[in-house]
C-alpha cells in the first residue's frame, strides 16, 4: 500500500518540529501534526521561558541550518557555578565551578529564549507538511504501516508515528505504553529578571533546602530564574504580587548582580519525573517529554529531547538508505537501545541530585559541601561532570556533533 508519509509526528512544540526538519532534510516525507493553531506561540512577546542549550544541541541546530539566525539572540554560558545555598547566607564555602576556559570547544552552552527557538523552528516548517490546529486522536497498526486519525476526520497513512506530544503523550497511551515516575512535590517558578550589574555569562545553580534555584544568563543585563519550591509554598508564592515575589526572591538570589526587577510574566510548572516504560511500540516511537519528563535541573529536558531527535533521525535515515521499512521493530529497537539507558540514568541521576540537595539535614549539608569541594578540586572529574552536562559525553549522534545525516 502506498503511504502518505514516511513519518507522522504528533506534537508541534520544539522536539517534534526539530525531528521533522532532521528527517525532511534527509529526503523523508514528513508531517508534523500540531494541536495548537498555526504559529500562535511565535507571535507572543517574551514570556520568560528560556532554555540552556548544551553544546551538542547548539551544534545540532547549526546542522539543521537554524543557528545563524539564532546566534545573535543567544547568550553564551561561559561559567557555571553550582553551590549549596541557604536563603540569606549566600553560597557554600566551596562552590563547584565549571569554566569554559577549561573545556575544549567553546562555551559550556547557550541560553536561548523560547520565543526565538520556537519561531526559528516554525519558520522552517515549509520544508515539510505542517498540519496545525488539529490533534492526533487515533492510531491503528496495519501490515505495512500505521493509520493516524486526526481530530478533523482525516486519516494519514505512514510507516511510523512519532509521539512528541509531551508528558501526557496520547500516542504512548494509545500504543499501550505505561509510565513510571513520581511527583516531586515541587513546583518550578519561572521568571525573567533584569539586574543592575552584568552577569558575564555566568549561570548559577544553587541547591536550597526547599529545591534548586537556577539563575541563567540571558542577553543584556537579564537572567532567567528557575526557582523550585515545595508545591504548597510555590502555590502561595505564585499568588503574590510582583513586589512581594521580588521581596522573597532577593535574599535567595543574593546581591551580586545588584538591584533586580521583573522583566516578563511569571510562570509556574509542577515538577515530576515521568519515564515511559518503553520508547517504542509497533510503528510507534516516543521522543522528548513523551519518553522522559525529567526534573529541570541543569536544563536537561530540552537537551535530552534533542538527543532523542538526533538518535532517532540517524537510525531512521540509515534504515531508509539500506532500503528497510523504517517503521519496523528492529529499526526502532536500535533507537530504543541507543537512548534509553542514557535518558533513564540521566533522569534518575537528576532525581537523586535533587533529593540529596533538597534537604536541610546538617550532616547531609556538610557532606554536600565537602563533596562539591572535592569534585571542584579534581580537574578531570569536574570536566567530566561539565561534559556530561554539556551533552558531549558518550556515543553522540552525528547531528549532535554538528554533522549532516
Amino acid at each position: 500500500m502506498e503511504q502518505d508519509f514516511d513519518v507522522v509526528i504528533a506534537g508541534g512544540g520544539l522536539v517534534g518540529p526539530a525531528l521533522g526538519l532532521a528527517l525532511a532534510g534527509a529526503g523523508l516525507q514528513v508531517a508534523v501534526v500540531d494541536p495548537a493553531p498555526r504559529a500562535e506561540r511565535a507571535e507572543e512577546g517574551f514570556d520568560g521561558r528560556a532554555y540552556a542549550l548544551a553544546a551538542g544541541s547548539q551544534r545540532m541546530l547549526a546542522a539543521l541550518g537554524l543557528w545563524d539566525d539564532l546566534a545573535p539572540e543567544s547568550q553564551p554560558i561561559l561559567k557555571v557555578v553550582a553551590a549549596d545555598g541557604r536563603a540569606g547566607e549566600g553560597c557554600a564555602p566551596w562552590p563547584l565551578r565549571f569554566d569554559a576556559a577549561e573545556m575544549e570547544g567553546g562555551p559550556l552552552g547557550f541560553m536561548l529564549e523560547d520565543r526565538f527557538l520556537y519561531a526559528a523552528l516554525r519558520g522552517a516548517m515549509d520544508r515539510l507538511t505542517l498540519i496545525a490546529g488539529v490533534a492526533v486522536n487515533s492510531q491503528h497498526e496495519t501490515p505495512a504501516g500505521i493509520e493516524v486519525g486526526l481530530s478533523d476526520g482525516r486519516m494519514l497513512r505512514a510507516r511510523l508515528l512519532v509521539g512528541a506530544d509531551g508528558r501526557r503523550s496520547g500516542v504512548a497511551v494509545r500504543a499501550g505504553i505505561t509510565r513510571s515516575g513520581h511527583d516531586y512535590g515541587q513546583t518550578a517558578l519561572v521568571a525573567a529578571i533584569a539586574h543592575e550589574r552584568p552577569h558575564e555569562g555566568t549561570a548559577y545553580q544553587m541547591f536550597m533546602s526547599t529545591g534548586p534555584l537556577a539563575i541563567l544568563p540571558l542577553t543584556g543585563n537579564r537572567s532567567s530564574v528557575v526557582w523550585s519550591e515545595r508545591s504548597a509554598a510555590a502555590d502561595a508564592i505564585a499568588k503574590l504580587g510582583d513586589a512581594d515575589f521580588l521581596g522573597l526572591l532577593a535574599p535567595r538570589f543574593g546581591d551580586f548582580l545588584g538591584e533586580i526587577s521583573l522583566c516578563g510574566p511569571r510562570f509556574s510548572y509542577p515538577l515530576g519525573l515521568t519515564l515511559a516504560d518503553s520508547y517504542v511500540a509497533p510503528r510507534v516511537a516516543l521522543v522528548g517529554d513523551a519518553a522522559h519528563g525529567v526534573h529541570p535541573i541543569a536544563g536537561q529536558g530540552l537537551n535530552m529531547g534533542l538527543r532523542d531527535v538526533a538518535a532517532l533521525a540517524e537510525v531512521l535515515v540509515r534504515a531508509r538508505r539500506l532500503g528497510m521499512d523504517i517503521g519496523r521493530f528492529e529499526v526502532l529497537e536500535q533507537y530504543q537501545q541507543w537512548r534509553r539507558f542514557d535518558a533513564t540514568t540521566m533522569g534518575l541521576g537528576m532525581d537523586a541530585v535533587n533529593r540529596l540537595f533538597s534537604n536541610d539535614n546538617p550532616i547531609l549539608r556538610a557532606a554536600r559541601d565537602v563533596g562539591m569541594g572535592l569534585v571542584g578540586a579534581v580537574g578531570p572529574l569536574r570536566r567530566a561532570f561539565a561534559r556530561e552536562a554539556a551533552g558531549t559525553a558518550g556515543a553522540l549522534p552525528r547531528l549532535m556533533r554538528g554533522q549532516a545525516l
Binding site: M1, E2, Q3, A26, G27, P143, A144, R318, A319, R321, L322, G323, M324, D325, R328, F329, E330, V331, E333, Q334, Q337
Partner: protein, 249 residues
Amino acid sequence: MPGEQPTNTVDPAEVAKFEAMAAEWWDPNGKFRPLHMMNPCRLEYITTQIAAHFGRDLKAERPFEGLRLLDIGCGGGLLSEPMARLGAIVVGADAAARNIPVARIHAEQQGLPIDYRNTTAEALAADGEVFDVVLNMEVIEHVADPQAFLTTCHGLLRTGGLMLCSTLNRNPKSFAMAIVGAEYVMRWLPKGTHEWQKFITPDELYDLIRKAGLEPVDRRGMVFNPITWGWSLSPRDLSVNYVTASVRR
C-alpha cells in the same frame, strides 16, 4: 478465450494461510528473528558494494534505479524488498514453492513490485536470464555442488555484473557458534538447519569463485556483538559469518 483460466480464482483460505505465513516470516520476534537481526548488517554490505561498483549515490531517492537484480533463495523477501525500495528491478527466486505466495503477499502489502518465482538458479540460467547483480546470501552452504552452483551464478551475470555471496566459515569456532550456539543453546535456528561439513572457508570460497570465472574483489566478516546484541562488519574477523563480493569481467 475458451479454456483460459480466470486469474482471480484464488482460494480465500489459501490466501489467509499465506498471510499468516508472511506475518511469521516478518515477525521480528518469530523464528526468523536471527535473520532480521542480521539484516541491517547484510544490507550495509550489499548496498555499499553495489553503490561502489556501479557508481551510485546511496543518499539518492532510488539509488539502484535501472539495475536488474536476482535474489537467490529469497525466502520471505527480506533482501528483495529493500532492494526494490532502493529502485532495483528485482527477481526473487526460491526453490521452496510455499515461500513464493508468502513473499508476494508481503510485497503487495508494501506496494513493492517484485517478480517472485518458484524456480532455481539453474532454470533461470537455462532460460538465458541475465542480471547486473546476483545476491547469493546464506545459500551456498545448503547446495549439493557449490562449484556448479557458482558457475551457474557466473552465467546469470552480465559482463561487469556483481555477485554478493555470504556463508559460514568452517572451523571449531563456527561449529560452536553456528551449530551448538545458534541451533542448540540459543534456539535461534531449528536444529539441523546447518551441516558443518558443508561450511566453506574464505580461501576455499575464493578458489571456487575464481574457478567459476568470477573475480573476488572484497570480503568481510559479519560479527555478532553480545554486548550491543547486534551485528557489524569486520575487515579482519571472518571466523564465523562472512560475505564476499565478486565481479564478472
